[in-house]
Symmetry: D2
Subunit: 447 residues, 4 copies
């Protein structure tokens, strides 16, 4: 889809699951609040050819349900208990989302109770480290000023039946799960079991991935803040590189499967000379390999800045064992120190001086408070998640797409990871800006 | 369109003017650079109903030309002189745009010369304060670290014929005009005269409006940075408000015709209690008027934060004379001090204590360097403007729309100002977050 | 004294008042904590001549008592209730001081209760707006992340007897008063009345003045943060000035009686061309007057940055009436708009273009959270205030002097305002950096 | 001396070397500039006992020469060429110092030329990588906005005779060397050889040590900025620690021999639970050892933040080989990863969960631009270095001491490293704030 196309034929059913008929009048009714009708849809494709094609073939264009408050809602707020849980690694904006969900539930809908389950899905299990917190306007008042998550987090799934028992025990009928790919798959499994057990509990996800790699969602919260913070680290690498003869600043950034942070931070800081992402094979050796290119760059300018996403695997690099962490992510050998070593060895071999500084800002980036874009964006995501949940929707996440907030089935969001399209404008701009492929060529043509 | 709909029937012709056939092979050719085909189009509407409607009626959907490098270009880079001019008030990112246009022209295309005309259109006239600067990679190296514009700026138009004479004198065939509504209208007038004189000079605009009020463009550069900076000011207002009994923090933000900065900054800082924008009439007096509402808020909480866009005109406020500044913008009486006075008078009258702090951060916001989003965005806008200009396009601006960069006719961009749609999600969220309309009501319903 | 000399003969008695004998063993005893002996003294003068002089004449050198934990203390922590109050305008670091006093009293000494009186001295009166808050480690946990004061503030004194009645009612025997000149005078009056009534209540001040104008104290908390924030405003003024032909950025900064913020911000941002402080008469008119100097600067460079402290009074400017605010500070006409008007009139008269941008960042500066220097400094001040109070000292403030924390009698701190010494290095560097006096001259001498 | 006492008997001769009689009238003469007399002295000790002692024994108190412009100067500015060199690792403020020295030499004194030698002392050798830059007001205009050093740097000494030949070749008679311990020793060696060769070349140092470990100097430039930046990293570590069950944030900070950054950043961020500095032995094992203490902390609170300076060596940790880097600093094994491993092993052994996040922000800290304190401080240091050099002083550095700028012989500055006094207020406050020794005890005493 658009920058990252799934073909129309690949798209899963985009209809959103619902618990039942909406019978309660929304307490938002009255005043100038505007309700969204279930029939409002947002186009998946914004390129005219694809859209005409779909129309010609099927008379229909694939589209997302539009997010927003509904005039009638499923749950009776006065009797509703809700829960919030945050899973996986830290990401800027978690507290903003917790806060806005809590305030929207309490101030706008007037629900009975909001529980904050502690330490990820573990807090929903019968073996929880700690009892859930009661979230009130007082408790969440200033939490958006801090990074991290006041609910804390953990990795890995829990047994659906056990979690459901805990929800039932506390009469929680609406659960907000904030997390990435693994968390959303867990949320989906939870809804399956809920259905099997004939319960009416809604599970709404807010996609959290600092890597911005959730499909069907233009941008995930925290990403903009992460790029801000990454830019500072690159800026430091640039100064360090210029500070020494044949100085090299090497920055490893987040990006397990997708290089969005690396690419955007490269564009936000036009001093990067080489940007490596998981989507593009990294060739180290040979005349066109990176090491020889770096040598040529240093011969010419005597300093260089390199950005590499953590998920890059050098082509020459054998990796037999594929261990996984508790969230099911493959544990790779750390490419940062590896590249550092390879560069040092190369320059030692060719007998040229080198002053390499290696920067790994990972946790510094993950833990900062949200910037203003992400704060406002989290506010929206949280409110739309509440509106979706109050209307009885389940097994979905809230997204943003082509200028509207949308409902996205978890099935689409977890189908595969979003990746940088190498023909798309983002990567093309990285190439144009770093000149990592073509500068030599163009300079020749100027002679 | 979408959040801010023009009806399909209102849309002007979206075809982009071109100087002639593209006969030169782009120096970008080779490697993995991907060219955009002239046939690629981006849908104006992303709401499915509107699109189906258009298809049913005309078999066509209104769409923008997609921006990007073309395989064949109009100008011969080796013989091309270019010019850049910045007009109107300061806006974060101006130096980023100047830098990226310069570097893209020189490094990617290898043009002959890039002139930076000083002090706005005045620098293009025969009465220029100063000669144009020669822009080189060395000159623009670090300029993006600073706010402002190294070319400086001025307001107001100049005679098209005089400006064209200056361009001809320096053999400038491609001019980049960075500015707002007035500047773009000036650019359009320039292209008209160029055509009349039978010249082949291209004029490409980069829309600059800190207010984000250019139509046909999702977001303008500098806006994100402005919201960041505005959030800080509001944060200060909040502390000042809480610091005193019946403390009020009143912040005036930019927004001559449209309240996007005020609205977004309100969402980015969830401590705002009243947000006033030019799109909504401000009623001061009466039981439902703002002054009475403020009194009730203070009785309840003893502090309040108010954000007002500069373009708001209180309904009760007579304004006979409508003077205009050099850019043709109506000069209004300053609403900030007016509101301050009205509030003070009201509380004096009702005999309740009040401690009001007034904050006007205007120039502090306009002059900061671009944040990382805007830096990357400016990089893209600048590069796409260069690609458009090199391909002989003229009388257009570069935009961003539904996940693609686009070419937008100046005729559309200057048709009218983009405004907050009161039924759209932005304003609805402001209402939901400040509770400026409905909190009372909801609290009642909770009893 | 040093940069701001009181002559030795002017110094008041530097002995600190005490409530009585210290009979309790400090709970800090044990481990590697080091206690300060009452005999340790810090020299007032660090210039060798003055010191020799004093030694020759009296065999003594004037010195401050050194601050620090004492091995024996006056109060029994287990039975002690304490109070904290913040008065006057906001200043970065207030919450840091509140937090550290609370934590030091509770964690290090184990006192019974800490009350936070709300809204300044008004909260200590029988007419308090609100009951005092109970300050606990939980309550103060994150408050240092915010600007402002969680206790809020107010201006003006209250009747000592009434305040003492409230203290007695709550059994508060140790009160920390955080405030400026007026607040400290109030604290002194309070101790006088306490003595008269034969009570054993200690009042310890932490001098709060964003202007850094408390005598006997090298630097006051919040000042460093204020200079940081002022620098940003000046930076914006510089960009605005350069953005237009004959552009002038005019920034009004805090500094009622003393120009320390203006002078330091000028040094921290080397783009200021004219810096005006209350200590130096500002001559507007005449060949050597500021207006003519500004004209010459603009003729030469076409932009200028001016910083003016709020307390400056142009020599030509008649001011008959001297109103005072609730804190007893003289209310002056606002010099910022005055200067703006004078400059505009002058350039209109001489018929030269001018583009003036006026920036008044006052409340934005006052309300930011403390920077890292001020956070650490507040931590120290708060802890030393606690140590002083626990040892029964009263009618004093905590200071920092010649690399040590000190006890300073309120009599000295409120004797008069600290001012910039025109012969001292600060002002001399301002002259050397702005060149506001001598640049012309030096350039001539280079010919 | 004061916080870090050398006994009076240990002090070297504090007289500053001079090239000869000052015969030229300073071009600063005239206007209101105030000159400093050679007889003005600043006391080394500010504690009254030490001062009285000295007076009683010798009638003299040890004191530094006061820095400042002299009425008569040694060099004829019109004929003087100067040079600047930056050596060792990056430190915030280097560009500020380069800029202010250049501007002061050119604008205030009107010297002939200012050379910027590239890449440290290597740039002063006959094998320099690059020719020196000519430093002009245009070249240094905006450099203070960037971190790093526009002159770049390198480690290690060069042959004095070779360097002097290069100075003579370019007729440079005044050299400013910005660097740490090794650089200053190099500068001292240079002055020895200059004397031997009967030349009249002055070498003035500006002490650069991000660790703040130069003796005889209250604070070195860049240190305040480094603490700012370190605070951000610690803040992130705190969020990461709270984000997981038994979460530990471990931050390694600069501090090869002295823990000033670690200690100050700990005070600036009151969330640190353990702070380790080179001055205090770190015991890992045993009931009172750190690992057991950490276990107890996690049992109680389930998260912990640890700060460790790079120079700490665990007592149990054998280190046979002592390699040195090019600057002569001992290369130690990296204590950060070591501690990380020890903690992980311990918790594995005792079978308790642990989620440790390791943060090493070193280069991110070193490369940021100076904060406003350091910018103003660098301005002063640079100007005073120029005044000292113009007056023919040599073999000295500029310092700040007891509220005055001073001249410090290199012999004192390089005598040994300044260290945290464990009885001084800095370390005592670290203990009081982290509670790393005594919290248990106090809590017991509260029962």
């Amino acid at each position: 889809m658009s920058q990252n196309s799934l073909r129309p034929s690949e798209l899963p059913n985009l209809t959103i699951e619902r618990l039942g008929e909406n019978t309660f009048v929304s307490p938002l009714k009255g005043g100038t609040r505007r309700f969204v009708d279930d029939s409002e849809k947002i186009l998946v494709y914004s390129i005219s050819d694809k859209v005409k094609d779909c129309m010609d073939k099927t008379g229909e264009v694939p589209s997302f349900e539009r997010a927003g408050p509904r005039e009638k809602i499923y749950f009776n707020p006065a009797k509703l208990n809700c829960g919030i849980v945050t899973c996986g690694g830290l990401c800027p904006g978690l507290n903003d989302v917790i806060r806005t969900i809590t305030l929207c539930l309490i101030w706008q809908y007037g629900v009975r109770k909001v529980y904050g389950f502690r330490y990820g899905y573990a807090g929903l299990s019968s073996n929880a480290f700690e009892e859930p917190m009661l979230l009130t306007p007082e408790v969440v008042d200033n939490i958006h000023l801090r990074g991290g998550s006041i609910l804390s987090s953990s990795r890995g799934p829990q047994k659906p039946d056990d979690m459901i028992d805990q929800l039932v025990k506390r009469d929680v009928k609406l659960l907000f799960a904030i997390g990435g790919d693994g968390t959303l798959k867990g949320a989906s499994a939870l809804t399956e079991t809920i259905k099997k057990r004939g319960l009416k509990i809604s599970v709404v996800g807010i996609p959290k991935t600092i890597d911005n790699d959730i499909i069907g969602v233009e941008q995930s919260f925290g990403f903009s803040t992460a790029v801000d913070a990454a830019r500072s680290a690159i800026c430091g690498a640039h100064e360090e590189a210029k500070g020494a003869w044949n100085g090299v600043g090497l920055v490893k950034l987040m990006g397990r499967d997708s290089g969005f942070i690396a690419a955007n931070a490269t564009l936000a800081n036009s001093d990067v000379n080489f940007c490596f992402v998981p989507e593009v094979p990294l060739i180290l050796e040979g005349e066109n390999g990176f090491l020889r290119q770096l040598e040529k760059r240093l011969d010419r300018k005597h300093h260089a800045v390199i950005v590499i996403a953590e998920g890059v695997e050098p082509a020459e690099y054998e990796q037999n064992e594929k261990k996984k962490d508790a969230s099911g992510n493959v544990i790779r050998k750390d490419v940062g120190p590896l590249l550092k070593r390879k560069i040092k060895e190369y320059f030692q071999k060719i007998g040229k001086p080198l002053s390499l500084k290696y920067i790994d800002p990972s946790y510094i980036i993950r833990s900062v408070p949200a910037n203003s874009h992400d704060s406002a964006f989290c506010l929206a995501l949280g409110q739309y998640a509440v509106h979706a949940g109050m209307s009885g929707r389940t097994n979905m996440v809230v997204g943003y797409w082509n200028q509207y907030f949308t409902h996205v089935p978890i099935a689409l969001a977890t189908m595969k990871r979003k990746k940088i399209a190498l023909q798309g404008f983002l990567w093309q701009m990285v190439l144009g800006t770093t000149g990592q492929e073509c500068r030599e060529k163009i300079k020749e043509s100027r002679k």
